[in-house]
Symmetry: C2
Subunit: 193 residues, 2 copies
């Protein structure tokens, strides 16, 4: 039961933090959304910052699971899996009317300058993502469909950066055009052999 | 004199907003930094939001001027000018210990979902930047140094997105490595013919 309560607080808080940012989200909102008293929150989390780190872990695991499900799909080639990941992400963003964006990118923007523990945890999440993308890029090179001269880790890094920037532009245009354009250029002009 | 006061309030406020975000900056902090009373602020600006739009104009003009100075430097080839722009920007970011990032990107992240006037003004700034980058990319194609098959406007869009994403990763790693890596891949793998 207790793990359920902790997870329930994390999921309720994560949804609000994704919409309003970490600093813009009050503890009371989290408690109201989770339906728990303050004492229960402090039973599981030492502080709001401690809770924020658990929320980053939650987002990291959530998006990591989505990525791994696609990245391990043997019915598609490695490059098709990368394409499918970006297309799946586009679908999420479309369903949110091209708002919100990626919570890991958003929290980096908002919190990395202000908190070293946040900065380190976000950096870990980026590194985890980069390694998984790099493995897929390397598999695409071995399959002959991705340019052999690309360094897999650098290219993973580049791909993730472009995608985060595309989400910033998406918010400024309130449309999916930046996502479609950047996905196409990444696949056609950067990756495809 | 009155234009000086208005500009003084904008510049003092812009510096704080760059560090703390628009929502995180209180009107009192702006007044204190500019050394003006509240009545003076409301003489020039209808509201804090109205002031925020003037701050976006200020950033747009500031970065636009830096870009144009480099983009019009005939002693360099078009691709060298693009490289110099990114390298100049890297220098600014290094001098801020790889924090802060681009205020247009930051305000898009923070405010575009929340305010349609902000979203429209930020979109205009992105479009202005994209057109100037596209003109330089086209000049580079005419000079034979940038891949002829690239669409100049799409490529400008892509370049700006990658650079904004590199700044997010910069904040998460607290280092200039993402900037250096993304610049090199943009120049070597995307642009160079």
């Amino acid at each position: 039961m207790s793990n359920d309560t902790r997870q329930n607080i994390i999921e309720a808080g994560a949804e609000i933090i994704h919409r309003k940012g970490f600093l813009g989200t009050g503890l009371k909102e989290i408690l109201d959304a989770a339906g728990v008293p303050k004492g229960s929150f402090y039973h599981y989390f030492k502080s709001k910052d401690d809770f924020g780190l658990a929320v980053i872990d939650h987002f990291d695991e959530y998006f990591g699971n989505i990525a791994r499900n696609i990245f391990e799909d043997d019915s598609l080639s490695p490059l098709q899996r990368l394409d499918k990941f970006l297309t799946t992400f586009e679908g999420f963003l479309a369903s949110n009317d091209y708002s919100l964006g990626c919570p890991i990118g958003n929290l980096s923007q908002e919190m990395a300058d202000l908190s070293e523990p946040f900065q380190r945890r976000l950096d870990q999440s980026f590194t985890r993502m980069s390694k998984e993308f790099a493995a897929l890029i390397e598999a695409g090179q071995q399959a002959g469909e991705i340019k052999p001269e690309l360094d897999p880790m650098d290219t993973a890094y580049f791909l993730i950066a472009t995608w985060h920037g595309a989400m910033i532009r998406m918010k400024a245009t309130r449309s999916g055009e930046p996502l479609t354009l950047c996905k196409r250029m990444l696949i056609d002009n950067v990756l495809t052999a």
